[in-house]
């Protein structure tokens, strides 16, 4: 008898309840890209402070039985926060939004000048349960909305073209992809971070270089070459090609792997050393019977030239970083992890110390292969 009661109570419980979270999959809108801009006309107002843009795919245009042409939709509104915008859009779209597949967040450059706003937006994203923390963050030179608009009628991957371009920088060091997690933890550790920059060029988007953000505020643009060098110094050497002039010829050298060692120590002031080991192969030389690359001496000379070039670029970039006082290269981070006692002493005055650090940069280039010909 007791078992019957138990069974009946279970069944009635299940049948009486509704299915609270059920929502058909084709009746959801999957936001893939979000863009935020500062609403300049409403400065100071809390409710209208942002212009938020959502981009979501048109389900009818995906797959073999695609019935429509337009691949994505774009909507935009004035709102106080990202998720508030979702509620405000609800009157205009047939279905509720679903945020678990958001891939890209584009922040307009004007927004980055407001530190408080950036902090609040970051907290909103960090706290939220609905989004993935692997969102890629990009900074738009100009307005995020314009960039998304340009992107809007292009051919799409299912993941989104911007996302596919930005997520994996294994084949290029022109920009440093940043996920939300890395973004936030960079601020925790060293107060500075670098985020890829996305610009509009001839009506199409281009991800080039980056933007240095310090203390939740915009600091400086960084172009592609500088970004490359910063990547080297951070130990993220990817497949990159370097052009160097050697004996009036342009050598093209492709990097396969790299290894960076950093060290920082206190000795009459803070000194830091960066040692980069690069391995790669010769991509292009010149078709001339008198000039062969198959000679060890020639290779060594080439290596020297490349080393000099890279070292010069690195020193130039370091100077620039010290000038703008942005510790992107992780010297502070390194000290806090590996020399914690020293770091505790100088932690508070890091902003004053960083520009004065003496850097010792060494580059070691190895041309391992010359390709198929001599």
């Amino acid at each position: 008898m007791r078992r019957k009661l138990l069974i009946m109570s279970i069944i009635s419980l299940i049948l009486m309840s509704g299915c609270w979270d059920k929502e058909e999959i084709e009746q959801r809108l999957f936001v893939t890209d979000i863009g935020i801009d500062l609403n300049e006309e409403a400065k100071g107002s809390d409710v209208d402070r942002l212009i938020v843009t959502y981009q979501y795919p048109n389900i009818n245009a995906i797959g073999k039985n695609a019935t429509e042409e337009q691949r994505t939709y774009l909507i935009s509104t004035i709102s106080s926060s990202i998720f508030q915008a979702g509620r405000e859009f609800r009157n205009r779209v047939p279905f509720p939004f679903y945020y678990k597949h958001v891939k890209v967040l584009i922040v307009g450059e004007s927004l980055l000048k407001e530190e408080e706003l950036v902090r609040q937006i970051l907290d909103e994203l960090n706290r939220d349960t609905k989004t993935n923390k692997k969102i890629m963050i990009l900074v738009a030179e100009g307005k995020a909305r314009d960039i998304l608009q340009a992107n809007y009628s292009e051919d799409q991957h299912t993941d989104g073209v911007i996302y596919s371009s930005v997520r994996d920088n294994r084949s290029s060091a022109r920009f440093t992809p940043k996920t939300l997690t890395d973004f936030i933890s960079d601020f925790d550790i060293s107060n500075t971070t670098i985020v890829p920059r996305i610009i509009l060029e001839n009506g199409k988007f281009k991800i080039s270089g980056g933007c240095i953000i310090k203390n939740y505020k915009f600091l400086e643009w960084v172009d592609e070459k500088e970004n490359r060098v910063i990547n080297f110094m951070n130990g993220e050497v990817n497949l990159e090609t370097i052009d160097v002039v050697h004996n009036d010829d342009l050598i093209i050298y492709t990097i396969i792997r790299g290894d960076t060692k950093k060290d920082a120590y206190i000795e009459n002031g803070v000194k830091a050393s960066i040692n980069v080991e690069i391995e790669g192969y010769l991509q292009g030389y010149t078709m001339n019977d008198k000039k062969t690359a198959y000679d060890n001496k020639v290779l060594l000379e080439m290596e020297n030239t490349i080393e000099k070039e890279i070292k010069a670029e690195m020193e130039k970039t370091i100077d620039k970083l010290q000038e703008i006082n942005a510790d992107i290269i992780g010297i502070g981070e390194h000290m806090s992890k590996f020399h914690p006692r020293d770091w505790e002493k100088i932690q508070d005055s890091w902003d004053n110390i960083f520009p004065e650090i003496e850097f010792d940069v060494t580059v070691n280039v190895h041309i391992r292969r010359t390709g198929l010909t001599k």
């Binding site: 979270d21 692997k134 550790i189």
Partner: protein, 363 residues
């Protein structure tokens, strides 16, 4: 085939699956808040601390072969005092169950089912738990052995998917923590070892009493290793600052995994699904303890009668706190202190009383 004995393998599996439950999710974050990068020291120390207690229990049971803990307790301490101890134990069990099921409901609500009322989640889980708790200990042992490889598999899975994205340097700086906080840290870690009381109830049913201690110690080492792996993966993936901010870092770590080249995205669903199984195993064991204790206080033959009536009590207690913060502050604190009484002081008292009694009877 035989009645009333379970093999040592079952005991070890019971120990591991009961302990690995709700504590696993928030452990890295709590420890990071207290001890920064050195939280793992607290985990190891908490594990080591339990070893002498296991040895005490082993000695206790070998002094009274083939007697259950209830019989030993009654004999050694007198029925009235032992009755009081049992009542404390029963209340402790109810609070632990309420806490576990409440946290479980909260996690499920946050990650999987947002709008489903937490009452439904709690009730369905309790009913499912009741189905198994009404059986004998050997059935629970069998269930534990079936679940044991799944839990280990989960931890290995966790390790495997986060390995490509981990940043080992996040573990540094080590040995830099404030050692005055160590006792607090150990208390927090010990809280995650809740559930090892199941040992009390199944030790004497082992079919090979000589080797039980070996198996049980192995189980404890497994639990410690699991917690260490969880701690290190969370720390490496997040870095110390974000780790302190996350409430449930273990799940967030899996959410982080994004290897589109290998088609692995959004894996938190799998992790949570298997975690439901782990929680179920913890809940059934502790529920069984509650039922057994109550049945012993009221001198009934089987513990089955008490399982169903306990459900409304646990349900009410679980819904008492208003939100997650209250749950952690009030209940977790009660459990931490009660844990010390129930798990540390009690075995010692019983043991000492047993020695005294033996000496008296010898003299």
């Amino acid at each position: 085939m035989q009645r009333n004995t379970i093999s040592n393998q079952h005991i070890k599996a019971l120990l591991v699956t009961t302990i690995i439950g709700v504590g696993m999710l928030s452990l890295p974050s709590e420890l990071a808040m207290i001890l920064e990068n050195d939280g793992w020291i607290a985990i190891i120390l908490a594990g080591l601390m339990l070893i002498p207690f296991l040895i005490i229990i082993d000695k206790l049971f070998s002094m009274f072969p083939n007697k259950s803990i209830f019989e030993i307790g009654r004999e050694v301490m007198g029925p009235t005092i032992f009755g009081i101890i049992l009542i404390i134990q029963a209340i402790y069990t109810i609070i632990v169950l309420a806490y576990t099921v409440r946290i479980f409901g909260e996690v499920i609500k946050v990650y999987i089912l947002e709008t489903t009322p937490i009452e439904v989640i709690i009730i369905t889980m309790l009913l499912a738990t009741a189905y198994l708790s009404r059986s004998k200990i050997e059935v629970l042992g069998r269930m534990a052995v079936m679940i044991y490889p799944i839990i280990i598999g989960l931890v290995v899975f966790l390790l495997a998917v986060t390995l490509p994205d981990m940043d080992y340097t996040n573990i540094f700086p080590i040995f830099n923590a404030d050692y005055k906080q160590l006792p607090r840290g150990i208390m927090t870690a010990v809280f995650s070892y809740t559930g090892y009381e199941i040992i009390f109830l199944c030790y004497n049913y082992s079919d090979d009493n000589k080797n039980t201690l070996k198996y049980v110690l192995r189980g404890l080492i497994v639990v410690t290793c699991v917690y260490l792996i969880v701690f290190f993966t969370s720390l490496s993936s997040f870095g110390i600052y974000q780790l302190k901010r996350e409430i449930w870092p273990s799940v967030a770590v899996v959410k982080e995994v994004n290897l589109p080249g290998y088609f692995l995205e959004n894996l938190d669903g799998i992790m949570l699904a298997i975690w439901v199984i782990a929680i179920y195993a913890s809940l059934t064991s502790i529920f069984y303890i509650g039922g057994a204790v109550l049945s012993n206080i009221s001198k009934t033959k089987t513990h089955e009668l008490f399982i169903l009536p306990l459900i409304p009590i646990i349900y009410t207690v679980a819904l008492l706190p208003d939100n997650l913060v209250q749950t952690n502050e009030i209940m977790a604190r009660i459990i931490s202190y009660a844990a010390i009484i129930a798990r540390v002081i009690l075995p010692i008292i019983i043991f000492i009383s047993a020695i005294i009694r033996k000496r008296r009877s010898r003299a």
